[in-house]
């Protein structure tokens, strides 16, 4: 055994700088993210989270990525529980499938904070807090943006709208679609939502779904997509069929590509949501929970509307 000891001491100094751990970090916080490789929002979220953790010398962060696979996320939860971290932050790949794993952490006395996309109701009593955007409000706000634009154009009585939703089973997708579908009839009763198809947060798939819509429906007045990444995919399809001019595109989670499209006047509006706020809010919530502070169960951070009119007030998203 002494072989390992000598090995440990000689290289401990070398590794010291790399891990950047302070003398004795009070908390080790583990995070299992949804799918870092899927889009820039998530990649920027991870960078912001790591930066925030390193900046705060009270915290050691174990950063894992489930790569979109439920089985792997459950395995990562078990690993974090087994390594008895002080708190676990989870960005669920599937709001329902992770509930038993969250319960296991709860039973092991490890507080669980959900970030970005909430888990289903049944899991609420195993979770200390949800930190992220209020997706239902976001959906409603997008409906309002679209309806105001239709009124401005005077077509709010015969407009037809299609929706490209996020990954099925993903809470954010369900909440945003729900928010949009509930709010739209309230503000623009005569606008009809003709069809909804999932784009799985994937730009290429959204482009194909939009192409199918364009073939199926001769006049489309508005497209609501779960996020700008999918929205731009739909925009590309419309531009290829050169019908982009007479379609109002409204999305959510304003990406850089969305912001530029708005700058070019092709994309009408979106919801401004910064992954950096998302990451920092999640870390701060975890620290507050460990410090014993009481924080609201639903800890939303604000996500304002952004349209071509007021885009100058916001600086271009960094993802």
């Amino acid at each position: 055994m002494n072989f390992r000891k000598t090995l440990v001491t000689t290289t401990a100094l070398a590794s010291f700088a790399m891990v950047g751990a302070a003398a004795a970090a009070d908390y080790t916080i583990g995070i299992t993210q949804n799918n870092v490789g899927v889009d820039s929002y998530q990649t920027t979220y991870e960078k912001a989270f790591i930066a925030a953790a390193e900046a705060n010398d009270k915290v050691d962060a174990v950063v894992l990525d489930a790569g979109g696979d439920v089985a792997r996320q459950i395995a990562q939860m078990e690993d974090l529980i087994q390594q008895n971290v002080d708190a676990i932050i989870i960005w669920p790949t599937n709001g329902q499938a992770v509930i038993p794993a969250v319960r296991k952490a709860h039973n092991a006395g490890i507080p669980v904070i959900v970030t970005n996309s909430n888990i289903a109701e049944e899991g609420f009593d195993f979770v200390r807090s949800f930190s992220g955007p209020d997706n239902v409000t976001q959906g409603a706000r997008s409906a309002e943006i679209m309806c105001d634009k239709f009124k401005e154009m005077g077509i709010e009585n015969e407009a037809q709208v299609v929706q490209i939703s996020g990954q099925p089973g993903y809470t954010t997708a369900i909440e945003r679609a729900g928010g949009f579908e509930d709010r739209l009839p309230e503000v623009c009763p005569n606008v009809t939502l003709v069809e909804t198809q999932p784009g799985d947060w994937n730009r290429e798939k959204s482009q194909q779904v939009m192409e199918a819509f364009l073939v199926k429906y001769d006049d489309i007045d508005g497209v609501y997509s779960g996020d700008d990444n999918m929205g731009v995919g739909a925009l590309n399809a419309a531009k290829a069929a050169d019908r982009a001019g007479d379609i109002i595109f409204v999305g959510a989670t304003n990406f850089a590509v969305g912001y530029e499209a708005m700058g070019r006047g092709e994309y009408w509006g979106s919801i401004y949501q910064s992954p950096v706020d998302d990451a920092e809010a999640a870390l701060q919530t975890a620290i507050d929970v460990l410090d014993g502070k009481d924080i609201p169960f639903l800890n939303y951070f604000d996500t304002p509307k952004i349209t071509q009119d007021n885009m100058s007030e916001f600086d271009k998203p960094v993802f």
Partner: protein, 324 residues
């Protein structure tokens, strides 16, 4: 008498069965939804199957030479991400050839492993499927790859442009198909690919450098994948790391549907193109008829099994297999 009769019918069916099936499908869908046969729709379908088609042409070479290639899916993601990245770093004129070189280097590696080291092509390309996916993620750091200034570049020409009224992807698809048909059926190299796939030992006995032929087939396949990556990247001027995921099995389905045998030695590019179009039009037809996209999976299952079964039945002269 019955058996030779079945064999005759089988022969015709095996030779042109795919064409017959293709025409029947088109008629059926046209009747169900007239919008199906309007020129925009037809053109749209061919344009969207161009990417799969270009890759299928490359894989046809590999299958005719008696091997398999499961790595084309992740290799296509790799080429798409790389060309977008290099477009901003080196500019399109340098970026595109650099991407072709990098993608064909991967093809050369596989060609070396399967051709010269004679390793099993299914397992090698299965390993490369995962390794290249890892390579792509490392290269892009997990981020989407988007061209910074989308309006200021002519790069969109390949995916979105039109020439003489025909969308560029279709032209590239047609040009590549014509060119490689010439190579496969009208050049000594093509004849050798059929020989190596049909009977490797006899080919070597006839002085054909079997390892080199297999190596070139994988090189051609990677060239086609690079072409597909170019079209895909240019189509949306941005892409995710997983854009090519799952394409390898769709490509294989199209090649098999076209009539190429997995044992090697048979199959043509024309038939593969028909296989690709069948897949494309079924998906489109079902959509227009109002069925969900996944019904296409079930239809594809049925016609793959039927197409290959009839082909084998014709060759052996009996419908049911002789296995006791």
């Amino acid at each position: 008498m019955a058996q030779s009769h079945l064999k005759a019918v089988g022969e015709i069916l095996a030779k042109h069965g795919i064409l017959v099936a293709f025409i029947l499908f088109m008629i059926a869908f046209a009747l169900l939804n007239p919008r199906f046969i309007n020129s925009d729709n037809l053109l749209g379908v061919v344009r969207s199957s161009a990417i799969l088609g270009v890759m299928a042409i490359g894989v046809t070479f590999v299958v005719v030479s008696g091997n398999l290639d499961l790595s084309v899916g992740s290799m296509m993601s790799f080429s798409t991400i790389v060309v977008l990245d290099l477009h901003d770093k080196l500019g399109p004129l340098l970026g595109i050839p650099a991407m072709f070189a990098m993608t064909m280097a991967l093809g050369a590696l596989i060609g070396f492993l399967v051709g010269y080291l004679k390793l099993n092509s299914l397992i090698v390309t299965l390993g490369m499927l995962s390794a290249i996916h890892g390579l792509t993620l490392t290269y892009s750091g997990g981020k989407n790859m988007d061209i910074a200034d989308k309006d200021g570049t002519w790069f969109g020409f390949f995916g979105q442009g039109e020439l003489l009224g025909v969308p560029v992807p279709i032209l590239m698809f047609a040009l590549l198909a014509a060119g490689l048909t010439l190579v496969l059926s009208k050049t000594p190299f093509g004849r050798k690919v059929y020989a190596v796939g049909g009977n490797g030992v006899a080919a070597t006995f006839s002085g054909i450098p079997r390892a080199r032929i297999v190596f070139y087939c994988y090189l051609i396949s990677s060239f086609c994948v690079a072409m597909a990556g170019l079209i895909q990247a240019s189509r949306s001027l941005g892409s995710q790391n997983t854009v090519g995921q799952g394409l390898e099995l769709q490509v294989l389905a199209a090649v098999i549907l076209g009539g190429a045998s997995l044992l090697g030695g048979s199959g043509t590019i024309f038939k593969t193109v028909i296989g690709v179009l069948i897949l494309g039009f079924i998906q489109n037809g079902l959509l227009l008829v109002g069925l969900e996209f996944y019904v296409q999976y079930i239809v594809t299952w049925v016609i793959i099994i039927l197409a290959v079964w009839l082909d084998i039945a014709a060759k052996r002269g009996q419908l049911w297999s002789p296995i006791a």
